[in-house]
Point group: C2
Chain length 383, copies 2
């Protein structure tokens, strides 16, 4: 039996975690953090009986407290940390919350000695060095949940790191992959949210269309697998069947394939080193014709992935700047305050107007995130 | 330093082994067996200074004995065994000889405690149970050199065997993959020898066109990876880039890719668990467009692979019958004594007219091979 703590239980990844828990008898859900979807939160509480529940607001918490006198409750940022450190014995934190808010609970869980199953990209992007140092110091495991990083993990973790010549991360190309740059000028939010392969949340679907998602993954991979940026390549693979590849010195490439389904990397992260069979997973069918296509990543078409490599090489707080500016820009786009291509402008503006801080502390990171967020909102949010 | 014994030094695989030895300083070539190509044998002796050399005939041996008084020599079947057991300390036998003749030296090397790097398909196809039992008993390693089996080995050996749901072996389709069955009636030896992807010996190129090669690989995989036949699938993949795949219970597929180059699996077998870099290996290029295509295996177009599954399920001496009949048939085809489609007829005739022997001994296997070979030659060799 593995005891689990889950941040983001009502989100896209969280819901898929619950699907797995529903079918497997190997996991106990001990604590959860949910957002504003109280109806869904109640369903989860009734089905999984967590011992601790955190809500986004105090009001929502008080509402549920009245309904469930035997459950412990928390709310807000403190609640997230309470969820992530709820277990007294060693457990597993599944961090599937979106955004910078996922950082502090991850740090708290590592310090408490828990293994981390990480779907929150920001944790590694903005504080990769700090997190990886803590992981080593506290001797916990950090298992990625992203399909790309899960695949690299599976194809690499049992080989000698010095034998790896490069990794190749695949990108679907997102919802506008068949449009050229000038055709992007007037695309709508609705168009952007139509991802060809994956069912995901709104933020990550936009990030997929701008290729920022792949940029964040490159930076994540740099920290997670301790690889120089010149050993991290990206390639467009429209079918999203090959999730990533690891090339070795001898020329062999080991790759991971499946139909696009986030439940596969989630299930792997939960069960590794075992692999469990779930009824809802569709296995690949080799009894029909199919093709896997690859085309080179185009830095002119997708300048934001080039910028990701650049901020990654700069290090310090520059990956944070890239990420925070993107979070602000995507929110403005989803709220119809800016056009699609202005996402590029905002991120470039932020990167070009920030003085880097080398070896930032966690406090530096959290503080600069707040400053930058306010600055960008003041500058770009059309009233 | 690894000490090597090499059967088939002048052949296609043997020559590629030597290319690797030429660039790496990690290997000593201690003993070799060569065929009839004396000129090439002399070149190898001069370059690699083996301590023991075996030739096919006594005459050739006596010729070389006169030239190299400080080298020990042997010849014929006894010579092969002397090469395979030459080392007194633990070493590595690379068995890259073609045909049944590779069986006895493999058995001798295992009994002498050497690790086996196996390119000789017949060893496992005709005596899989016996070989795998010996491997366990003498606690040696059996590392496949075939690109398909090397890939499965790389994708599977570090996972739990009970988590494997199936393996998928890819097949290029061979030199006639664009022809339908009726168009095969009058194809020539020259046509058959034009393999689209791989540079290989004549026998295996014909086996690739008949799909017998893939059939033999299915049977090999059954023994090597201890998998039921219903967990071994084959798929046509014209580009020969994905060499094989392993699917796990959780729906993840781990696959091995590279440009087709036998030196990659040879280098892996030599260096594992390390992976060495060689200047002559062309790494995959993701800066250009490419596609990987897959189509279902067609048992009507390639009935001999269906037959391989059937003889595999029957077990006993039936895989031997399939293999020996194929060896006879391919030789007759290459000598222009029979037509291409008569290869099918001869193998089917042999399978249908053999009474199976369960749990055959090594002697049973070797004896029946001789009997069948003589019978088929008498029946099908046009005088």
């Amino acid at each position: 039996m593995k005891n689990l703590m889950l941040l983001g239980a009502t989100g896209s990844i969280g819901s898929q975690v619950l699907e797995i828990l529903r079918e497997s008898k190997e996991y106990n859900l001990k604590s959860i953090a949910v957002g504003k979807n109280i109806k869904k939160a109640i369903e989860i509480i009734n089905e999984f009986n967590p011992e601790f529940v955190s809500l986004q607001t105090k009001e929502d918490m008080e509402k549920l407290q009245a309904m469930y006198p035997n459950i412990q409750f928390g709310y807000g940022d403190t609640g997230l940390i309470q969820v992530a450190t709820y277990l007294k014995e060693k457990g597993y934190l599944i961090n599937s919350i979106v955004g910078m808010v996922g950082l502090k609970p991850t740090v708290a869980a590592i310090k408490a000695g828990h293994d981390i199953l990480l779907a929150n990209k920001e944790t590694l992007v903005v504080a990769g060095n700090i997190i990886m140092d803590l992981v080593k110091k506290h001797n916990v495991r950090l298992i990625p949940i992203d399909s790309e990083h899960s695949t690299i993990f599976q194809c690499m973790m049992k080989e000698r790191r010095e034998d790896v010549s490069r990794i190749i991360i695949t990108a679907s190309g997102g919802s506008f992959r068949d449009k050229n740059r000038s055709e992007l000028k007037d695309v709508t939010v609705e168009d952007a949210l139509k991802h060809p392969n994956w069912q995901m949340g709104a933020k990550i679907t936009i990030d997929s269309a701008t290729m920022v998602n792949k940029g964040l993954e490159v930076i994540e991979a740099h920290y997670l697998f301790d690889l120089d940026y010149d050993k991290i390549e990206t390639v467009i693979h429209p079918e999203s069947i090959i999730h990533s590849m690891v090339e070795y010195n001898d020329g062999s490439i080991i790759a991971g394939l499946s139909y696009p389904d986030m439940r596969i990397p989630i299930a792997y992260a939960l069960s590794t080193p075992k692999r469990n069979n779930y009824s809802f997973i569709e296995k690949m069918n080799f009894k029909k014709l199919f093709s896997l296509n690859f085309k080179p990543m185009d830095y002119n078409r997708y300048p934001l992935i080039k910028l990701a490599y650049e901020v990654g090489e700069m290090g310090g707080i520059m990956p944070l700047v890239y990420n925070t500016a993107n979070e602000v820009a995507v929110r403005l786009f989803l709220n119809r305050k800016i056009k699609f291509l202005e996402i590029d402008e905002i991120i470039n503006y932020a990167v070009n107007n920030t003085e880097n801080i080398n070896n930032p502390t966690l406090d530096d990171i959290l503080k600069y995130d707040q400053i930058l967020r306010r600055d960008l909102e003041n500058k770009f949010e059309v009233k």
